[in-house]
């Protein structure tokens, strides 16, 4: 394990930024934080988490895929992909770090999504243990330990030091390249971990369990009569899908650039009525069906296809952002009952 005094954080950031683009949570001035590129003077935010998830780094909201030059009857296809720059994301929470594994099992299975894969290959994740988890956090329900986040490098912050421990070759290489770090005992973070665990156990959603979802068949959950009540007030705004670190659905569209056609992809949402709209009809015509699809995907379909791993990491963003205060916790509790 390595360490550096918290008074010297800027020196660490400068050392990383000397060779790679460095991003970290920065206060947004609106009681939250957002990921920003570090430059001299940028201050690392101590907010519990960023308002938007970290999925943007690998799966941006909008990205170009390919360009077409159309000339009469002829079409020329231009591969617009560029080599991704090396980058580091500092301060990723345990929940968001886990979300990358969930996205990986969609985008990195054959046929590999090269856009996503390139960013994953060039990105280094430095996680940060959650000193102040909040009352909307429930990552422990999904077996995530907020006191011991994963990623390429795990970090802990106490009153005096930042402690760093590499988990991957990529992480180790980055730590080895920084010569201002001091050696620390392997158990140096134990007090911080214990303090975090003590807070986690007191959180209102700490006892939330996925046990109620187990032992039920896909059709039993799908046919539950609870969906009508749960979805009744859903506005179909899609905010939950946009803030969600594991929502990965996308749309592919074309736009006329004036001198060609750019094909791009952008986030889409199963909460929208045109998501499944075909020329011949729509398979999900009601908000009940669309609402059920989103939660069935997180709690049943994804686990069925991925060895029981749930498609939620308990970050709590949907709890904070839903305009009608509906969320996955209420869905889990209601389905369980």
């Amino acid at each position: 394990m390595k360490k550096i005094s918290i008074d010297r954080l800027n020196e660490l950031f400068a050392a990383i930024a000397a060779s790679k683009a460095l991003y970290m949570p920065v206060d947004d001035g609106k009681n939250g934080a957002k990921y920003s590129k570090w430059s001299e003077g940028t201050e690392y935010s101590k907010a519990a988490n960023t308002k938007r998830s970290a999925k943007d780094f690998f799966f941006p909201q909008v990205e170009d895929m390919a360009e077409f030059n159309v000339n009469g009857k002829e079409i020329e296809i231009i591969d617009t992909r560029e080599e991704c720059e090396e980058f580091v994301v500092f301060g990723v929470r345990a929940c968001d770090a886990k979300s990358f594994e969930i996205l990986d099992s969609v985008y990195l299975v054959d046929p590999v999504d090269s856009y996503y894969a390139s960013r994953r290959e060039h990105g280094i994740i430095m996680t940060m243990a959650c000193n102040k988890p909040t009352d909307t956090c429930f990552c422990s329900a999904f077996g995530i330990d907020a006191s011991n986040p994963m990623g390429d490098i795990s970090c802990w912050m106490n009153d005096s030091d930042l402690l760093l421990s590499a988990n991957t070759e990529k992480g180790q290489a980055l730590l080895d390249s920084i010569n201002i770090l001091d050696e620390a005992d392997d158990n140096a973070a134990d007090d911080t971990k214990a303090a975090i665990k003590a807070i986690l156990e007191k959180l209102p959603l700490f006892g939330l369990s996925t046990e109620g979802m187990k032992g039920k068949t896909l059709m039993e959950v799908f046919n539950s009569d609870k969906w009508a009540e749960l979805s009744e007030s859903c506005l179909g705004c899609g905010t939950c899908t946009f803030v969600c670190p594991t929502c990965q659905c996308y749309d592919i569209r074309d736009y006329d650039t004036g001198h060609g056609v750019m094909r791009y992809r952008c986030w889409d949402s199963c909460m929208y009525s045109d998501f499944t709209l075909c020329a011949h009809g729509n398979t999900r015509t009601t908000q009940l069906q669309r609402f059920r699809q989103r939660f069935m995907h997180k709690l049943v379909y994804y686990p069925e296809n991925n060895g029981g791993v749930f498609g939620c990491v308990g970050c709590g963003r949907c709890l904070r952002s839903c305009p009608i205060s509906m969320n996955i916790v209420k869905v889990m509790k209601t389905l369980e009952g």
Binding site: M65, A66, F68, V70, K73, E74, I75, E76, I77, D79, R81, E83, V106, Y107, P111, V112, D113, S114, Y115, A117, S118, L218, M219, F222, Q248, C249, Y250, D251, I252, D254, D256, V261, R263, D268, C270, F275, T276, L277, C278, A279, H280, T283, R284, Q289, Q293, M296, H297, V300, Y301, Y302, E304, N305
Partner: protein, 275 residues
């Protein structure tokens, strides 16, 4: 740079056949004049017109056709309307093949087959029918029941009459919904026609057509004594990526683009009725 399936290749439309008032069959090859890729009967390709859109279409030609691929497309939306306006020589984009296809080299091998198609639903089955006709030695007899709204709406009518009907070991029964001048064949809907014909229960069934036709035909087949596990169909839902990642074509935990489009009815019975 890594291979990327979402980036298509250029295809050239070398022939356009007006099959019915709203169905055209397009012949497509690559810029080199050869097939763009090989496929299994029942697999699909994503075709696009840049600036208009991209959509999933079943490949209606058989893989035994070594020269080109064909797509029978009904005009029903924005992209298909544009495709119907094309002239020979027009380039489009193409990527694939996608989906599982029919199990022509496993479960269907050696079997007597029954094809039931309604309207444009013949398109994906035509690939299997011609594959089986070209590899007769591997399959038993073939019974085809095909129907459309009218005589003019029978897709591939010329091929059915000139080739399929003259093929030993292939029995073809045609029907149209309403009586029509010049038609001396059967008149009536497919589900009741199938029940009337009472096909041999030992046959493995491949069925495709409008959802309502499939539903009533399946009910009829079950009444005759067919098991759900001997009936295959091919599905169609909205798709964007065609590789099980964009998230919209799922039926329960299965993606139609990747785990389908071909399903057996006993498999579908275990999934939500969202199709």
């Amino acid at each position: 740079m890594r291979e990327e399936t979402l980036i298509p290749k250029v295809g050239v439309v070398t022939d356009i056949r007006q099959d019915t008032p709203d169905v055209k069959t397009f012949r497509v090859v690559g810029l080199d004049g050869k097939k763009v890729f090989e496929h299994i009967p029942g697999q699909c390709a994503m075709l696009s017109v840049p600036g208009v859109g991209e959509g999933m279409f079943s490949i209606t030609s058989s893989p035994t056709n070594t020269e080109f691929m064909e797509f029978s497309i009904k005009k029903c939306g924005c992209l298909t309307s544009w495709l119907h306006m094309m002239e020979v020589g027009q380039q489009i984009t193409i990527r694939g093949p996608y989906g599982n296809g029919f199990p022509v080299e496993s479960a269907l091998k050696g079997k007597d087959l029954l094809f039931i198609a309604g309207g444009i639903g013949l398109a994906p089955l035509r690939s299997v029918i011609n594959y089986v006709r070209d590899k007769k030695e591997n399959y038993g007899s073939v019974h085809i029941i095909y129907g459309s709204r009218s005589m003019d709406d029978l897709v591939d009518y010329k091929e059915i009459i000139d080739e399929w009907c003259n093929d030993a070991g292939v029995k073809v029964d045609l029907t149209i919904d309403r009586p029509q001048e010049g038609w001396d064949g059967h008149v009536g809907f497919i589900p009741s026609f199938v029940e009337e014909l009472s096909p041999d229960l030992s046959r493995t069934v491949l069925i495709c057509g409008p959802p309502i036709m499939i539903k009533f035909t399946l009910d009829g087949l079950k009444k005759l004594g067919f098991e759900e596990s001997q009936v295959y169909t091919t599905m169609e839902l909205r798709m964007k990526c065609a590789i099980g990642k964009c998230g919209r074509c799922n039926i329960g935990n299965k993606y139609v683009c990747k785990d389908g489009p071909v399903f057996r009815f006993d498999q579908l019975a275990e999934l939500p009725d969202e199709y």
